[in-house]
Symmetry: C3
Subunit: 158 residues, 3 copies
């Protein structure tokens, strides 16, 4: 029987997203089913950087769309971000070590068949439209998430 | 057999508490048993806003009681709080979308039979008394928590 | 059959490390197998405070080694750290309550047979050498972590 991992992506931090996507890619290489459920700040990771729209959004939703990160490259660090200096330092250290950036791990996960799900309620509250997100993203409810998570071998809140 | 979910509530952030309580309410509607274990900052969510006492507390405990959030409405955001501006913005967006505030989800969870547990050690260290907390709160040990978590279908650290 | 708990230690915060080590110690007293996997900021907790080396490190790695906490005593709080004032306050409250400091829980976990594992990739990126870490630390891959986590009764991301 296929084993499965469910990750609830809440935080929207570069370093936490990196950890999660390394786990997701590694799990797929081990033939483990992976579902990632993006809610709240986690949704910033699965925005398509080139597809922001302001149409059909309230004033708050427009402001929110513009103030928050668009896609993986813009996410801040959870610690020692120092207005981006800490993040540049981490990126340099990753490059010295031939570790690919977050965008590459995201693309890898898309190719390897990780299932990407967006939280319907969070998207409605934040005013994010399906067409602004990566094309793989399925929009599902909290109940769908729970059904999957309860049947998985492991679950993490990241 | 009844399925079960165990949530360790550590953070004390408004947005994380909202995510957790939406999951808890949804799980109860699916007839899943839910235990929430509040430790450290997570205890701020289950303080009764009208029942703070300073009696029988050390100077540090008094200071701590006064400096920390009392109940759900006072919790800050985990990100973009901006001294409360980011939080007001989120609350406005939730209202536009007819999403109830955190207090409503907390009341819903109380009505739907979510089990609320407080960490004995954290309460002792922070000087929080049982009578300052919501009446449903059982005070339990780390061992009680682990016994429940190990027997649950899923566990999250929030 | 022996029950097991797997903790992914990501954060490197004093309070979160305290919560995790209290759980780890309690679980061992209940005869539950415990594996702690330290990645990213979590590695700061398992640095040996007396064994920092700058040899064989790039300029970024040297800077990083010097700017980040060395061992349990130097970790900041996840909230209300206030440049260390909040942490001192918590330490005073713990002392008033006869709760041992983080270092004692770390030593307890080492004595009780908690398995300590460091993330190979994180250590390479951050330039941390095995000889700078506590002697118990095994260096393992993300795949080793997943194999252990998938077979555990509970998993938390801390």
């Amino acid at each position: 029987m296929t084993r499965s991992m469910n990750l609830l992506m809440f935080s929207g931090d570069y370093d936490k997203a990196l950890a999660a996507l390394i786990l997701a890619n590694t799990a797929r290489e081990m033939n483990v089913d992976v579902t990632m459920f993006f809610a709240f700040w986690g949704l910033m990771l699965v925005r398509d950087p080139n597809k922001m729209t302001l149409e059909d959004k309230s004033a708050y939703e427009k402001m929110f769309s513009m103030m928050t990160p668009r896609g993986p490259a813009e996410l801040p660090l959870s610690k020692m971000n120092f207005a981006g200096i800490g993040k540049s330092m981490l990126l340099e250290m990753m490059e010295e070590d031939d570790t690919p950036p977050l965008e590459a791990f995201l693309k890898g996960a898309q190719k390897k068949g990780v299932r990407f799900c967006g939280c319907k309620l969070s998207m409605e509250v934040m005013g994010l439209k399906k067409e602004e997100m990566i094309p793989e993203l399925e929009v599902i409810t909290a109940q769908d998430y729970l059904e999957n998570a309860l049947n998985s071998n492991m679950q993490l809140f990241i």
